[in-house]
């Protein structure tokens, strides 16, 4: 029983006898309207350790870290650090910086057009006798460049660097310039190639060896990274810290079981696993098991019977995707699951015409479809909804109707002119069906809320009435109340009109709407789950995305 309470860090902080903690949260809670993002989390991070925080999307990892860094005030809770106890309700970023806390976010905040030099030393220029000490600055720069494996020119505009390089610079600044003692890294490992992950690991180990008083907290979605990088890991689920585990004492299967919780089904992955502590078998804080209706559903009537619309044969792209093959029939919804870097995004960009496959071939209605451009893909009958909507989809400053119809104006043209009545009806119907809240169809899209902008983009692909709907994270940024509508729409209307290729960060959503899900792991298909089979559930899906096979 003692072992149980030690493994489970929720409620009462796990006693940490024999080592000095770097920081400790006490009953940290952060509520957003209608949701407890972080629920009474008490974790204790030791000095000199790399501590992982893992959990599904929406488990509360990022909110937890942001609260510690003072970006959001907590609803309640305390932070103990360097002998101080901070009331997190009145925490600020400035106070966090004074305490030596540095958060390296997924997308570092830099002034895009300024140079690397100006960005790194902004507000903290090394000085000597009132003048900028360039030699000191240069020393720090070369230290960052060497140790983190980033190649840059200090005069280069920072936005010419890739996002992972910017993250490394932000980390370098925290380590060598600000000399932070609590480093919170939010998913900065996700976009790194393997060799650079090794460099990062080495750098973190070295930083700890040089300054044993620091601690590193690493948010990740990848169990592999926890195993590679971390000493201990805290698993979060539904806003709570459900377990803190010593990485040497565990394995991928056990961690996956903790992350998915009771939805993993009657047979937890850890059964019979000698490496796992026996106490891990039951997750005490797991919500009551709710049978997942979707997993017991039989496939749609159309499943497997329609004609083949889209097929891929041994498609590959560089080192990011190897040998993908599938067939998609009319009326089907195909899910592509996988973590960042699994090759999932490449599948979408090839089907959308943004990248050409290096190997293999794609066929649409029996015709070769290795597209050269999105215009090609569109003509062939594909409508693509990109993931980063503001960057790649929203027509800023243009009205709702033009945004919704951007793909179909050529199709609405009769004798050279747009059929205004059809255009109007298309938008009016769509706004009604999708319940888009807008004062009018000619209102600039920028004035709509995020969820409604999002729905307008869904309306765009809907209006296109293509053979294949290609939806990259269609529910991203949509409020909880609207999500079921949207999912129903995909499963009923879109699948009836054509077929759908979809991905989502949420395994539950994929299980709800897909007939079949292909799971990618490190560029290869690791699983192929079909609706109606016992494996077709979100827990199994999650395990596969993590590379855990059974």
């Amino acid at each position: 029983m003692t072992a149980l309470s030690q493994a489970v860090g929720a409620g009462d902080p796990a006693p940490d006898v024999g080592s000095v903690f770097s920081y400790q949260t006490v009953d940290l809670t952060r509520a957003f309207p209608g949701v407890l993002a972080v629920d009474r989390v008490s974790i204790s991070i030791r000095q000199g350790e790399i501590h992982g925080i893992i959990g599904k999307n929406g488990a509360g990892k990022t909110v937890l870290m942001s609260t510690i860094a003072g970006i959001y005030p907590a609803t309640s809770g305390k932070l103990q650090i360097s002998g101080d106890t901070i009331d997190l309700v009145h925490h600020t970023p400035a106070r966090a910086r004074e305490l030596g806390i540095a958060l390296i976010p997924q997308e570092p905040l830099f002034a895009n057009h300024l140079s690397v030099f100006e960005n790194l030393f902004m507000g903290r220029m090394p000085q000597r006798r009132g003048l900028v000490d360039f030699s000191a600055a240069q020393r720090i720069l070369s230290q960052i460049s060497e140790r983190l494996g980033v190649k840059f020119d200090s005069d280069q505009a920072i936005n010419t660097l890739r996002i992972e390089d910017q993250q490394m610079l932000a980390l370098g600044r925290a380590l060598y310039l600000d000399r932070a003692i609590v480093l919170l890294l939010d998913e900065i490992t996700a976009s790194l190639p393997r060799d650079r992950k090794r460099v990062l690991d080495h750098t973190l180990q070295r930083a700890i060896a040089e300054r044993p008083e620091i601690s590193i907290t690493l948010i990740t979605h990848h169990i592999d990274e926890v195993i590679e990088f971390c000493d201990r890991v805290t698993v979060m689920r539904d806003g709570r810290a459900v377990s803190t585990i010593d990485v040497l004492q565990t394995n991928k299967e056990t961690l996956a079981a903790w992350i998915v919780g009771a939805e993993g089904g009657a047979k937890p992955a850890v059964a019979g696993d000698p490496a796992a502590p026996a106490t891990v078998l039951v997750a005490p804080t797991a919500p009551a098991t709710v049978p997942i209706a979707a997993s017991t559903l039989t496939p749609t009537a159309a499943y497997g019977s329609g004609s083949v619309v889209l097929s891929a044969t041994s498609v590959g792209l560089g080192t990011s995707l190897a040998d993908l093959s599938f067939e998609l029939r009319r009326g089907e919804v195909l899910g592509i699951a996988g973590l960042d870097g699994s090759g999932k995004d490449e599948v979408f960009s090839m089907l959308a015409g943004l990248q050409r496959p290096d190997r293999g071939s794609i066929a649409l209605s029996g015709r070769r479809a290795n597209f050269d451009s999105p215009a090609d893909a569109r003509r062939a009958g594909i409508a693509y909804l990109p993931k980063k909507r503001d960057q790649y989809a929203i027509l800023t400053g243009r009205p709702v109707d033009e945004n919704a119809l951007a793909m179909v104006y050529p199709a609405l043209t009769r004798f050279g002119l747009i059929d205004g009545k059809r255009a109007h009806n298309l938008v009016a119907d769509g706004v009604k069906t999708l319940r888009i809240k807008t004062p009018g169809y000619r209102t600039a899209i920028d004035t709509l809320s995020g969820g409604n902008r999002q729905k307008t983009m869904i309306l765009r692909v809907l209006c296109a009435a293509p053979l294949v709907y290609l939806l990259n994270e269609p529910t991203r940024g949509v409020d909880i109340a609207t999500k079921p509508d949207l999912l129903r729409e995909i499963r009923s209307r879109l699948a009836e009109q054509g077929c759908v290729v979809v991905t989502s960060e949420s395994e539950e959503e994929l299980v709800e709407i897909c007939d079949r899900v292909l799971v990618l792991y490190r560029g290869a298909v690791i699983g192929d789950l079909v609706r109606g089979t016992p494996e077709f559930n979100s827990a199994q899906l999650y395990r596969l995305t993590q590379g855990v096979r059974q």
Partner: protein, 325 residues
Amino acid sequence: MTQSRYQGLVAGRRVAGQNLIWLILGATFLFGTTVHGFLSPTNLTNVAWASVPVGCMVLGMFFVMLTGGLDLSLESIYGVAPVIGIVLLNDYLSFLPEPVALVFAVGTGIVAGLLNGLISVKLHVNPFLVTLAALLFWRGLAIFLIPEGIYNLPDGYTFLGSFRFFGFFPVAIVLGLALFGIAWVVINRTAFGKAIYAVGSNPMAAYVAGINVDRVKISVFVIAGLLAGLGGLVEVGRIGAVVDDMGQNSIMMVFAGTILGGTSLAGGRGRLSGILAAILELAMIDNVMNLIGVEPSARQMIFALILLGAIYLASFQERRETVSA
């Protein structure tokens, strides 16, 4: 009651906001009525007539600017297109009927625009630099071809600018209005027009949505070249001569008109009704100064000050739109 009054107020402010340039034009007109001779039909006709040639260039610039580009070379295309037309007719192809020379002139505008478009888009050279080079080149060609100017023009070559219906109403005004009508249809009622706005608003999103961004960008340069060539022909007819410095230094006025009309320099924003008002405003300011008898040497300064004020006022238009939309 209060609610509806408030809404009425908001709607009123929006209408005023979106049409500020028309209010400015109205104010200029009211001021003009105090000037002797302004209201005469002849004078008003002349104002409209004089606004057509530069108006053509403003219209062309409007298309380019909507995609987020700009074209400095329009004034030189405007100058060189009629030169090429008349030189081809006089020196090489004199056996052809006179109006064919008009086709050569307009064709020159199209070719010049196409070159601007192809070089800037396909070779990825900043349109500012490409059209700066074109500005110098086409003006240079005009000077090279007709250093002396040509003053004996066949009627078939000048009628676009000089012909008057019933001996009174210039065909140029009809042409100008027709061009506006066509532009309105293209911008508002065709897929190409919607693509222009899409490209200007977010080129990456337009590309992902399957719009051929390169083709749209090249097309607007072609349209601008064509319109500049037409504008040049109207001006030639109006002044009755082809001279090598025609339109020189007018590009700033073209910019002024386009921006005054509410077109965003960043692309994706702008309406044709504003452009029409801005073109008339420019011609009217010029006309009123003329009638009052402002010293010619002082006109440019006064014009600049009026312009600054008008652009400042018109800039409320954009702010208003963001606030109220």
